[in-house]
Every structure is written in structure tokens, then in C-alpha cells.
């Protein structure tokens, strides 16, 4: 997919709330420990569960790297992409899936759940999430068309930028 240059991926309050509801429900219904959503470029979009002791920024970046690398592998053998990845550990397992070809859903779970249950619940949640990301894309496109792009950066000054590094 060719992304036009210099565009941003924008998240609004409304969709963020809707996403949070879906992943919290998924967390409960799948008995999992942690859930997070990552953009394919490695940016963390949302997370829930036992995240206090997790380095979520690093997790997001490595997950995206992982998906990118396996996506590259898939192409080499003539597949479009592997839509589900599963890593099994001694205690914890990671289930990774791609939603609407754009967003990565990661579920971390232990013996209190099972791969079958996680798969089942992820499937349902994926459809809901795909709908929300579709709405988000439509909204962003509309905002751009109507020129109603209220960028927090429209008014930034050189001083603002210099202050960041002071």
C-alpha cells in the first residue's frame, strides 16, 4: 500500500474510546493478561491489562519489526502476509494478528487461557476493530477534504521547537 507522503495517522477521542471498549472486552472474554494495538510502523495505539511492568514502547517497535520481517518472508514464498503469528513461551504466550491490513493486535496470555479461546475472541474483536479503523479513515479523509484540519502544530514557532531540546 502506498501511503502518500507527509500524511499523519490521526487518532481522535471518540474512536480511541471505542477501541478501548473493544480491547477491554477482549481482555476479559479471552482471559488474557495484556492486549495492545500497534500501528504497522511501530507506534503504540492503545493497550490494556497488566502493562505496569511492561516496556510497551519497545514491545510495539519489536512487534512491528516482527510483522514486517515475517511479511517479507511471506512475500518471498509467494504469500501476501501471515495474518496470525503465535509465539509460545514457558509461562506466557503471544498471539499476534493483523487487522484490516494496517493495525497489529497483540494478545499476551498464560495458562489461564488457551490458544483456542484467544483465537475465537480475537476473531470477533478484529471485525469490530476493523470497523472502527474504517470510520477513522473516513473521518480523517473528510477532515482533510473540508480543510477542517485543526492541527496542534499550525501555530508552532521556532521557539517552541528550540525549547524541546533545551
Amino acid at each position: 500500500m502506498l501511503e502518500p507522503q507527509n500524511n499523519s495517522f490521526v487518532m481522535y477521542d471518540e474512536e480511541f474510546q471505542r477501541i478501548s471498549v473493544v480491547i477491554e472486552k477482549l481482555l476479559r472474554e479471552s482471559n488474557s493478561k495484556v492486549i495492545f494495538l500497534v500501528d504497522k510502523n511501530g507506534q503504540l495505539i492503545a493497550n490494556c491489562g497488566e502493562t505496569e511492568h511492561l516496556d510497551t514502547t519497545s514491545l510495539a517497535s519489536l512487534t512491528a519489526g516482527n510483522i514486517a520481517a515475517t511479511g517479507g518472508l511471506a512475500k518471498l514464498i509467494g504469500e501476501k502476509e501471515f495474518s496470525i503469528l503465535f509465539h509460545e513461551g514457558e509461562k506466557d504466550n503471544i498471539h499476534i494478528s493483523i487487522i484490516a491490513q494496517r493495525v497489529i493486535l497483540v494478545v499476551i496470555f498464560d495458562h489461564r487461557s488457551s490458544l483456542g479461546l484467544v483465537r475465537l475472541r480475537v476473531k470477533k474483536a478484529s471485525d469490530e476493530l476493523a470497523g472502527i479503523f474504517e470510520d477513522l479513515a473516513v473521518k480523517a479523509a473528510e477532515m482533510e477534504k473540508t480543510g477542517n484540519v485543526d492541527s496542534p502544530f499550525a501555530e508552532i514557532t521556532d521557539d517552541d521547537i528550540d525549547n524541546l531540546f533545551s
Binding site: M11, E15, T57, A68
Partner: protein, 198 residues
């Protein structure tokens, strides 16, 4: 592609350090890491071989502070420089907001620099990007070494368009923050111009 999150009032941007093998990309990130306050940085991740050559990428998240109430984060990535890691380089360029080209100023690496810069352009174009339209700065690294190509010549070969450039010695940190600041500034100015939705 920057990520603007109105819900958490955050903005994330991705900067990629590109250049030939051993030019000092990882060293740039290590210096930034060492000199950044603990609360402003995440963990630095290096996916490296046993001999410390970058295998996939280095990653360093920085939280610089707020602009207009938005937490501003930069995610710094390096690519593996060796020619045969081209597939990995392409992956890392996905969604890039700004590029730093780190040149190895030593005479013997002149051809490697030119080749790497061409490779950068090719890989960007494959994804529909044009280097000329991206926030882009050049760093002439390893200036401390005796056998360097004169700056004028490096400029002529690597920077014909006259983008912002810096001389550096990443090992001591000279020029490292200047380079990072410059590319970050270009990215923020790009955001200011528009394209905040899409």
C-alpha cells in the same frame, strides 16, 4: 508517517539513520542515549550480531517534551549498513518521517557512501517517497580521523541539493545532537505546513 493521537495528546515521529556499514549510526544513537535524562528516554534496543554489527535495527524512543500541550516523541531507528541487508533496510524505512544520512568521511569509504545514498533513494522511491520531499539532513562523521575526504568534495558528491549538513565525531558526540535537532525541527515544520490528517 507521524502519528497524532488527540486522545492521549501525543505525537510520534520516526527518524531513520541511514548510511554505509560502520559509518557510525549506532554510535550516534548510543551517544544520544547516554546524554538523555532517564525520564526522557526509553530502553535502547539493538538487534545485533554477536560481533555487535547491527542485524535488523537499533531503536531508541525519546520523549522530548510538550509542544502546544502535545507530548512529542521521536522514535530513532538505524538500519544495518551492509549491502546484503537490503530487505531489512526497506522494512525500517516504512512510515519514516525524517532521514539522517550518516556519511563515513574517510577516503576509503567514499564509494560506499555514494552507493548507500543511491540505495536510500531507491528504497524510498519503491515506497512512493521522494528523498527531496522528506525532512533530510546529512552528517559527515569520523572527522577526527586523518584520512578524510575534504568537506567540499563530500558536499559535491553527497549533497548537491545543499540540505542541512553537519560535521561530526559520533564517538565523542560532536555534532550528534546538532544533527538530531535539525532533522527533528524539519519534521515539526513539515507538520506545521499541514498534512495533519489523512
Amino acid at each position: 508517517m507521524s502519528f497524532i493521537n488527540y486522545a492521549s495528546r501525543e505525537i510520534n515521529c520516526k527518524i531513520v539513520y541511514y548510511g554505509p556499514g560502520l559509518c557510525g549510526k549506532t554510535t550516534n544513537l548510543q551517544f544520544v542515549y547516554q546524554k538523555t535524562a532517564p525520564d526522557a528516554k526509553g530502553k535502547m534496543i539493538s538487534l545485533a550480531t554477536e560481533t555487535e554489527r547491527t542485524l535488523f535495527f537499533d531503536f531508541l524512543p525519546l520523549a522530548l517534551g510538550e509542544i502546544r500541550g502535545f507530548k512529542t516523541r521521536f522514535h530513532l531507528y538505524t538500519v544495518p549498513g551492509q549491502v546484503f541487508y537490503d530487505a531489512s533496510r526497506k522494512l525500517i524505512l516504512k512510515g519514516v518521517d525524517g532521514v539522517v544520512f550518516v556519511a563515513d568521511s574517510q577516503e576509503v569509504r567514499l564509494d560506499a557512501n555514494i552507493e548507500s545514498l543511491e540505495n536510500l533513494k531507491d528504497n524510498l522511491e519503491e515506497q512512493g517517497y521522494q528523498l527531496e520531499k522528506l525532512p533530510f539532513v546529512i552528517q559527515y562523521n569520523k572527522q577526527d580521523l586523518p584520512n578524510c575526504t575534504p568537506i567540499e568534495e563530500l558536499r559535491e558528491l553527497l549533497n548537491p541539493d545543499g540540505v542541512t549538513e553537519f560535521t561530526a565525531c559520533a564517538q565523542t558526540g560532536e555534532g550528534v545532537f546538532e544533527t538530531l535537532k535539525a532533522v527533528a525541527k524539519l519534521i515539526l515544520l513539515e507538520l506545521k505546513k499541514g498534512g495533519a490528517a489523512g
